[in-house]
């Protein structure tokens, strides 16, 4: 029997465009493939995606396998699983990654069940154990209080879903070369036992806090809903969006869509500003991969300062109005220009 070899990632498209989470997967996949000295392939299903597939090469894939068919335009678990499963059984990758999106978290357990192999959910860290060539899959457990590292010693492929925004994509390198393979589609595999009857778009269900470069997040230390509401103006003036701790959401200061943390969304912005957030394990698990973290809190021992690059010990009741006043006064003229 052929030995399992190679790293595969399951790309995602929405409305025929490659979704950026695919590039995050390729960044993970690239380092694993390089660690194992094998190739990195991206499997993607959709309709009219062949042209866009070049992006996947530029972001790190050595080969892209495309299933392109009108009936694959929207994700349906039955045909996606049948097509992927056939390919996996034929080529036997040793590792298969997908994003922990509603698609990845639906298709991967079904594939793992059929293939009789292990699957680890919502990983935030992936590495190769060099002595055994095994995938080390690390995920937060028990509300982010501990990190558990899991491996799949003898079943293949080793499967994991990866939490979106747990890693930045590599910059596109248009000079990279790779192969784009349009896979043959056996139309008898396209039937679905579940049919789509309709779709109601609701963009508030999207991931705007996940896409923002600057996140201004508030927590219990703001103490009042009115002070929390000031964050929206600060965020607007700084070109950012508002995030919230679980406590702030529980208080009704912000809707759940703004919640950052294991129980909400993971974010990885360029700058994360935590105001009055003490830094529970649940919260830290959702933002500690930000490029730069600035924390303002009145408690110098707050755990948030351990993950922050810049810490200011201040009472938000003084700090926030003063900051807002300053932002209102001088928007960019004498302060805050590019450095």
């Amino acid at each position: 029997m052929k030995k399992a070899r190679g790293v595969w990632v399951l790309g995602e498209q929405r409305n025929g465009r490659i979704h950026p989470v695919s590039h995050e997967l390729l960044a993970w996949g690239r380092s694993l493939a390089d660690g194992l000295n094998v190739s990195l392939e991206c499997i993607i299903a959709g309709h009219g995606i062949a042209e866009d597939a070049k992006q996947l090469i530029a972001h790190g894939a050595d080969r892209v396998r495309c299933f392109d068919h009108r009936q694959l335009e929207i994700f349906r678990v039955d045909p996606y699983v049948r097509l992927m499963e056939r390919l996996i059984r034929e080529y036997k990758p040793e590792i298969l990654l997908a994003a922990a999106t509603t698609m990845g978290r639906t298709v991967m357990p079904v594939l793992a069940a059929h293939l009789h192999t292990g699957l680890t959910a919502d990983c935030t860290e992936l590495a190769i154990d060099p002595t055994e060539r095994l995938l080390l899959q690390t995920r937060p457990a028990i509300g982010g209080n501990v990190m558990a590292t899991i491996k799949t010693p003898s079943h293949r492929p080793q499967m994991a879903t990866v939490r979106p925004k747990s890693r930045r994509p590599m910059p596109a390198d248009e000079s990279r070369t790779g192969e784009i393979v349009t896979e043959f589609i056996d139309e008898s595999l396209l039937d679905s036992r579940v049919s789509r009857l309709g779709f109601v778009e609701d963009l508030t269900m999207g991931s705007s806090i996940q896409d923002a470069d600057v996140v201004i997040a508030g927590g219990r230390g703001l103490r009042t809903s009115k002070r929390f509401a000031d964050l929206f103006e600060i965020a607007e003036r700084l070109g950012g969006v508002v995030g919230a701790s679980r406590c702030a959401v529980d208080q009704g200061w912000a809707p759940y869509a703004h919640q950052v943390g294991l129980s909400g969304k993971s974010v990885s912005p360029t700058t994360y500003i935590a105001l009055g957030i003490s830094g529970s394990p649940n919260h830290l698990a959702g933002m500690s991969s930000a490029e730069r973290i600035i924390a303002v809190n009145n408690d110098p021992d707050a755990p948030i300062f351990q993950v922050a690059d810049v810490g200011i010990v201040a009472d938000l009741a003084d700090f926030l109005p003063a900051w807002l006043e300053r932002l209102r006064r001088g928007t960019g003229e004498e302060r805050g220009g590019p450095r």
């Binding site: 929405r14 678990v77 509603t102 978290r105 639906t106 991967m108 079904v110 793992a112 069940a113 059929h114 192999t117 292990g118 699957l119 919502d122 080390l136 028990i142 509300g143 982010g144 209080n145 501990v146 990190m147 590292t149 899991i150 491996k151 799949t152 010693p153 003898s154 036992r193 579940v194 049919s195 789509r196 009857l197 779709f199 778009e201 609701d202 999207g206 003036r237 700084l238 070109g239 294991l262 830290l284 698990a285 973290i293 600035i294 351990q306 922050a308 690059d309 810049v310 200011i312 010990v313 201040a314 009472d315 003084d318 700090f319 003063a322 209102r328 960019g332 302060r335 805050g336 590019p338």
Partner: protein
């Protein structure tokens, strides 16, 4: 008669969960345990379907765990489910999601015919959300994930699924597995008579043989995954602290601006 199976899990209610350092599996013998909160929505939906259905409906609650997990099943019985089954025995201990789904599906095959299986989207302890989809896959029936609304007339199940960017309406035939979110409904509180009935209801406890399982596929031994390390997360950026309380807020803001500058061209003015 139609039959609904609700999958429930007993989870620790406090943060005092301990891990077995050898196996990396959770130690669940503590007394602070309850039915997984999302499973209550699955139970509630089953009871609502039973109440509104023109056909006769029987609801079975199925769980896997130590004998203490019977109390989680009793919570579901008190809300209006008819019977409870617990898969229990040493052979099930330490199961990962694959081995758990295998055991549950073996039991489903013993219980068949079953028309509808409901489960919470994920449990608050493991947080994988994998068992429901794996049950659908091994049982080979349609799968609905992220369900926020169900309409069941026993010829077709229509569901709303909350996915990125909106809500999808889907339909499928029975039998089917649906994994539900908390938006689905508001779970009822058990009535006193419900609690009494649940207390008197004898929960069937089945072992690996009773469900005809290949014991090599159960528990830790049947699990493809292994927890190899458990550690407390360390984040080591350790900011140098600037004390506004000593230096004044104005100086603190100067300091903030010295480390965090915004590109003025991207800064939006007041609207």
């Amino acid at each position: 008669m139609k039959r609904i199976l609700v999958l429930v899990k007993q989870v620790p209610t406090t943060e005092s969960v301990r891990l077995n350092e050898e196996t990396g599996t959770m130690i669940r013998t503590g007394s602070d345990a309850a039915i997984n909160p999302l499973d209550l929505h699955a139970v509630e939906e089953a009871v609502r379907i039973k109440e509104s259905s023109t056909e006769e409906v029987a609801i079975t609650v199925l769980s896997m765990g130590p004998l203490q997990a019977q109390s989680a099943i009793r919570e579901a019985l008190a809300m209006g489910c008819d019977e409870g089954i617990l898969l229990s025995g040493r052979e099930f201990a330490g199961a990962d999601t694959w081995a758990t789904a295998y055991a549950l599906v073996q039991c489903i095959r013993v219980l068949e015919p079953i028309d509808l299986v409901l489960s919470g989207e994920r449990a608050t302890d493991g947080e994988t959300g994998q068992v429901g989809p794996m049950v659908a896959a091994m049982w080979d029936v349609p799968l609905l994930t992220y369900v926020t609304h169900l309409a069941c007339d026993w010829t077709q199940l229509v569901a709303h699924r909350a996915i990125e960017g909106g809500t999808e309406e889907v339909g499928c035939r029975f039998p089917v597995v649906a994994c539900v979110l908390r938006d689905l409904n508001e779970p009822r509180l058990p009535t006193l008579s419900g609690k009494v009935a649940a207390h008197d209801n004898e929960i069937k406890v089945l072992d690996g043989n009773a469900i005809g399982a290949d014991t090599s596929l159960l528990g830790l031994g049947g699990s493809p995954t292994r927890v190899v390390k458990v550690m407390y997360p360390s984040f080591q950026r350790n900011a140098e602290l600037f004390h506004a309380i000593d230096n004044g807020v104005g100086v603190a803001l100067d300091y903030l601006e010295s480390v965090f500058t915004i590109d003025a061209s991207q800064t939006k003015g007041p609207s």
